[in-house]
């Protein structure tokens, strides 16, 4: 599988993301934001975490106009698989590839810690190796990760099995670190080829560093 990881000025998780997919035996190419095309044969695009363009104006507001994003949007619209992690998730909602919007965390602090997540729907590529209700331990690190969507949009997300993950404690009881609606940590689009989440699975791939629960998630994209 060929994984293209987009790199914007201010991106800081591209090496971790590359490392994670290479550890899973995949070929990874870093693609600079000024490129207008994705590498030939790209199977998965990852928009990694960081602070693209300084997150000026709003998180990821400027990144969506990068040359590479035009190619990513076209790729997604043709059914190509796209994973947005943290700042990448913010890019996907800013680019309207995913519904909703991101707001400042409810407690106004930047939160950087391990957090438990509960799998809500697994009938998709990303979480197919996880079971519904399973609790995963994955780091979060964001200041604007409070997911917002209007009530009708929220209903639709549940009806179409687009809610991927919610924040919880180690027993699976809802626990909301940032004020996201329904403690939602990740969603996908209706066609289930575009995935976004605030937590960082690429930072949870070795048990010695706290958790390897991210492996299970990322392996969903592998054959």
């Amino acid at each position: 599988m060929l994984v293209a990881v987009a790199v914007f000025p201010g991106t800081n998780c591209e090496i971790d993301t590359k490392y994670a997919f290479e550890k899973l035996g995949q070929e990874v190419v870093l693609v600079f934001h000024k490129e207008e095309k994705l590498p030939e044969g790209t199977d998965l695009v990852v928009l990694p975490g960081g602070f693209s363009y300084g997150d000026y104006l709003r998180s990821a507001a400027i990144a969506k106009f990068s040359p590479i994003m035009k190619a990513v949007i076209a790729f997604a619209q043709q059914g190509g698989k796209v994973l947005g992690i943290c700042n990448g998730f913010q890019m996907l909602v800013e680019a309207r590839l995913l519904p909703g919007a991101m707001k400042r965390n409810e407690n106004v602090h930047f939160i950087s810690q391990f957090h438990h997540l509960k799998v809500v729907h697994n009938d998709n590529t990303f979480l197919r190796r996880c079971s519904v209700g399973e609790v995963l331990n994955i780091p979060i690190a964001h200041g604007e990760g409070s997911f917002y969507i209007d009530p009708e949009g929220l209903k639709e997300l549940y009806a179409k099995h687009q809610v991927l993950l919610t924040y919880c404690d180690e027993k699976g009881t809802p626990q909301n670190p940032n004020g996201s609606i329904d403690a939602i940590a990740g969603i996908c689009n209706e066609a289930k080829n575009v995935f976004g989440l605030m937590p960082h699975p690429e930072r949870a791939i070795e048990a010695i560093l706290g958790s390897d629960d991210g492996v299970k998630m990322l392996r969903g994209f592998l054959d």
């Binding site: 507001a61 400027i62 707001k103 400042r104 409810e106």
Partner: protein, 81 residues
Amino acid sequence: MKVIVNIQLKNGVLDPQGKAVHHALASLKFDEVGDVRIGKQIILEVATDDQAKAKERVTVMCEELLANTVIENYTIEFPAC
């Protein structure tokens, strides 16, 4: 021509910064403050004398970039100067 764009979170969308500032004002005994909403102001220098045209262009700027209309409202003003 100077154009001022004011951007606020929509009514009903919780403003955590406003809430924090409201709390701080209350702790300073400014009890008369009922609510605080924090927005942002963007001041543009637009190369035109045509106000209608400027408004039309700035509206597109707001829709495409300056505001996230999922959660934010914006107003466009022309200061008298």
